[in-house]
Symmetry: C2
Subunit: 333 residues, 2 copies
Amino acid sequence: MKYSEAGVSIDAQNDSNERIKKHVRSTHTEHVVTDVGHFAGSVKLPSNLSDPVLIMSTDGVGTKTIIAEQLGRFESLGADIVHNCGNDVLAVGAEPKYFTDYVASAQLKPEVVEEIVKGIAEACKNLGIVLMGGETAEMPGVYRESRHDLVGTMVGIAERSMLFDSSQIKEGDAIIGLPSNGVHTNGYSLVRKIVEARGLDLTIDYDMGMSLGELLLLPHRDYVKDIMGLRQYVTIRGLAHITGGGITENVPRMFPEGLGAAINLGGWKIPLLFQFIQQQGDVSQEEMLRTFNCGVGMVLVVPKEEKNNVLSRIESYDLGTVVVGKGVTYTNY
Amino acid sequence: MKYSEAGVSIDAQNDSNERIKKHVRSTHTEHVVTDVGHFAGSVKLPSNLSDPVLIMSTDGVGTKTIIAEQLGRFESLGADIVHNCGNDVLAVGAEPKYFTDYVASAQLKPEVVEEIVKGIAEACKNLGIVLMGGETAEMPGVYRESRHDLVGTMVGIAERSMLFDSSQIKEGDAIIGLPSNGVHTNGYSLVRKIVEARGLDLTIDYDMGMSLGELLLLPHRDYVKDIMGLRQYVTIRGLAHITGGGITENVPRMFPEGLGAAINLGGWKIPLLFQFIQQQGDVSQEEMLRTFNCGVGMVLVVPKEEKNNVLSRIESYDLGTVVVGKGVTYTNY
């Protein structure tokens, strides 16, 4: 018996590895020490930090991979995973700098792996991130036929004094939202359930300016440049990345004990795509807000006197106020 | 419609998160800055390094999860993923120090997630590694019923001068192997294919001192303490972690262009489990050596005059010699 008869092709894996080398290398700076293909990637760190902190986060893109498979378009998943993980590191207060990826499937098609890793490398280059390495795994028996998972880990290094200090968050602080770019990477199992139940066609434009499939594949937005730029002018006390659990579960993650959020649902316009999902699936408002980002991808807390400074500098929404309490209370429900 | 009807339970995820908190925290030292539950983990780095390098690697445990499912025992998978990723960082020359995990399944059972993360935390504590965070994902539609994937990312920080310098590897250097602890985390798809084809029973002891299932679940061994200890006495020029691709593909990864390995198959005794797999599956020697570790989990290159020093200090095998050439040539085939 041979390994390939068990559904695992080392040759296909070697083919994938050859195809992705140039993309990985394209993210390498003069600081990279080991070339692609070593057991681990290595890179020189800045040695001038007085109190260096390492920030690290792992996440996946969820079942968005199935939409990509249905449309045969995998490249934008790269930005999804890089930005999703990058925003988590950013939420602590650091710039994302070093990334590894994991691509797994029942059967690996080298051209699909290449498309995904090419997208990852592009997204890394845009943000000055080094793609340190990655892993591809062929796992018949674990994954369904032609299905993929895509996972990433991001690391940042920062001066400790640069981390957001959420203990400074106070009653009355302003809560500001930054627009998302669509569904990002959370809630796709519910989206697909609705698509199936209503017999929706991913290739049709349901009066939203783009086909449903294209809208659903729009990549997770990154907020690195916006937030790093804003920090030069504004004291940000906390940042919440709106991922699984929506505004309802993610905003409270940055609060100290005893504080909550009063969010005004009139503070932003819920994008057409989310309205469409809600109508087609007959999803309650409550469920929408704890499943999807509903148009808000990142939430900031700033002192109330700095609110207008933020609102005038970047596209953003006046969502509400920090209050004594717990969790999120919505008004204009 | 609700998210839970699409097969994704935020409540189950919250239950998992509650259960694993204490295990994650048990790995936290006084250097950890952010508590569990933040968007990313953060930890103070040593600030006394003159030329710090960050080393990073991602890997999975492959379809070994299926054996764990079949036996209903998940805890040892934690050591598998931590040691697998840790050995990759070690192969570059650094101690593994910071880890994140990713556990995904069609449906998440909070008690299974807890068992896995508990095992991860134990393995981290044994090696002084901080569990920086992790992600759990429920992905009906991507994973097969009751199947799991388990992925990890390890980071190490080292002085640049501590990285192995494989450009120093020379013709005539000694190649030494360290024993593995079984199949580790590569080749399980072929093992399961053979188990099915031959109607083998995981609960039976086929004269190997332990049931087949127990043997197959033995965790990936870690080599951190052995190698870090050995470095005090011996110049290690290169280290190869024997993972997917076996000795055949992994040993050459550490060589500079123009050098290869002459490996004496009489240099170690292939353990019973691998002999059993080979017989039951009628697998060729060549296929065995490029699929499984065959009893050798880590391979070192040292100057030939240091060979006996290594062999006398730790349990190890005299595998062969570095030669002018390419890849691996086996003798006593």
